[in-house]
């Protein structure tokens, strides 16, 4: 009798977990990043699928001007002084006060084109005060002004096969986000910080803000946006091949 009870309860638990798993699979993104057979990347992908299935598309908490804090600039603080493929271009653009700077938006879009800084500033803007959460453990509150990425993607027209949005920067970094983050209302192409032009050390003239992920997803010094229909790890310039998680909602 006792063993019968045990099996029934275990079956009940397994059935419960299986249906949870089924729910997760049902709402899971269609395109998952590759794991390369690496157990850490499998964990990242599991967390990605679970968070996407369970968390919805809520906005992150926004703060007030009184909450603004000091903000360290880490990683690249000036692509012009580096020896990267985009450094010479950045040096030239920086000397002109970014007057000739252009953002290319291409890939799986109906009308690929470039945007000048003024063209981006003429689009509907959004200002938000949010918490920057660095993978190192520190946080800082900043006010960001920019055009929602969704507005720019609307302007160029996403093709139905579009799945990811890939970014390339002047310091040769590459990273991508899925469409759920790309179309999230708080995902900005930010040209302003704390009511001023975006400072050099924080990614001038244009940086990304992906508020539901860790700070390093909010790439600085944007140069190109490429919409893709397949996952692109960015090769040696991307996170994964450098040993870092692609999805950092946690």
């Amino acid at each position: 009798m006792k063993s019968n009870g045990l099996i029934t309860r275990r079956r009940a638990i397994i059935a419960g977990l299986a249906s949870l798993g089924g729910l997760a699979l049902w709402k899971t993104p269609r395109e998952l990043p590759p794991t390369y057979g690496n157990i850490l990347r499998m964990g990242d992908t599991f967390t990605y699928a679970a968070q996407r299935a369970l968390l919805g598309d809520a906005l992150v908490k926004e703060y007030t001007l009184a909450d603004l804090t000091s903000f360290p600039a880490t990683g690249t603080v000036d692509p012009a002084v580096m020896d990267r493929s985009g450094s010479a271009d950045y040096r030239r653009l920086k000397d002109q006060g970014f007057a000739g700077w252009q953002l290319s938006v291409e890939g799986r879009v109906a009308r690929p084109r470039t945007f000048s800084l003024n063209e981006l500033k003429a689009l509907p803007s959004r200002t938000q005060i949010t918490r920057h959460t660095c993978e190192e453990g520190w946080t800082a509150i900043g006010q960001w002004t920019g055009v929602p990425l969704s507005v720019v993607l609307d302007a160029v027209g996403l093709l139905p096969s579009a799945r990811f949005v890939l970014f390339r920067s002047f310091d040769d970094w590459t990273d991508s986000i899925d469409l759920l983050d790309a179309l999230h209302p708080q995902t900005l192409l930010a040209y302003g910080m704390n009511g001023r032009d975006l400072p050099l050390a924080h990614g001038a003239p244009l940086r990304l803000r992906v508020e539901r992920q860790i700070g390093y997803k909010s790439m600085k010094y944007l140069r190109r946006i490429i919409v893709t229909d397949e996952f692109d790890d960015g090769g040696k310039d991307g996170n994964i091949q450098n040993g870092w998680a692609w999805y950092t909602g946690i």
Partner: protein, 247 residues
């Protein structure tokens, strides 16, 4: 002392999975803390703001590798920005992914353990101290025995003394839920969906500090727990909690 009952199989499996997960989480969490060994209170804190505690656990301790701060707004006494010039210790690439992978092996078995503990009346039978056990004289007696290191020999299973019950209950019902909830509060995607977590702990950095304190308490428990296991008969206890011997 003869055992009243050996450890149930589901208890032994939970103990193994949760125990190993906790140790891997402690190790990877410590590696993560080494990248930024400063703790704060409130919503935000970084190298340019004062710390509550600084821990000398990596070369990042009190490093002054920043350019001269410049104001980020029109207010010269307001928020500042400075560029980092110091090559910090940072192994978070694998540290973070290992921490979050392992967290699944704590969260799901932990939840199953809590449900099984309730369904099997494990908590009411063995863990939750009774009113009689919590009497001042009984606690005083158990405390005096522990101070004199008079630990009863291993039974290889429950039942437990009052201090043992209280410490197990604190781990199961206070420290483990606290470390889990504060950990979830550090996830920007989780707090977007559940901002109440930020309110509950008074902000991201407060949650991070509580997460650390809960880790310290859990590690203190693990040390004392292992000491008690050793004092009461290491071999028999280990057999009891793994293979289920002891009868």
């Amino acid at each position: 002392m003869t055992p009243i009952e050996p450890h149930a199989r589901w208890v032994r499996i939970s103990h193994a999975v949760i125990g190993v997960s906790t140790l891997v989480l402690a190790f990877s969490g410590f590696v993560i803390l080494m990248a930024h060994p400063r703790l704060y209170w409130g919503i935000a804190g970084n190298d340019l703001t004062p710390a509550l505690i600084e821990l000398p656990i990596s070369r990042n301790y009190k490093h002054a590798g920043y350019t001269t701060p410049t104001p980020l707004t029109g207010n010269p006494d307001g928020p500042m920005s400075a560029n980092r010039t110091y090559d910090i210790f940072n192994e978070n690439g694998w540290g973070r992914s290992l921490h979050f992978l392992t967290a699944w092996f704590l969260a799901i078995p932990g939840l199953v353990y809590l449900l099984m503990g309730l369904a099997r009346r494990h908590f009411s039978s063995w863990i939750w101290p009774t009113r009689d056990e919590l009497s001042a004289s009984n606690i005083r007696r158990d405390l005096a025995a522990h101070v004199r290191l008079q630990i009863p020999p291993a039974s290889g299973g429950p039942s437990y003394g009052v201090l043992q019950k209280v410490s197990y209950a604190l781990v199961i019902f206070v420290a483990a839920p606290l470390v889990t909830l504060t950990g979830l509060t550090l996830s920007p995607a989780v707090t977007a969906a559940f901002p109440v977590l930020l309110t509950m702990f008074g902000g991201y950095q407060s949650a991070r500090t509580i997460h650390f304190v809960a880790f310290v308490l859990l590690m203190a428990f693990v040390l004392v727990h292992l000491m008690m296991v050793a004092l009461s008969g290491f071999r028999r206890q280990l057999l009891g909690i793994t293979l289920g011997g002891g009868r």
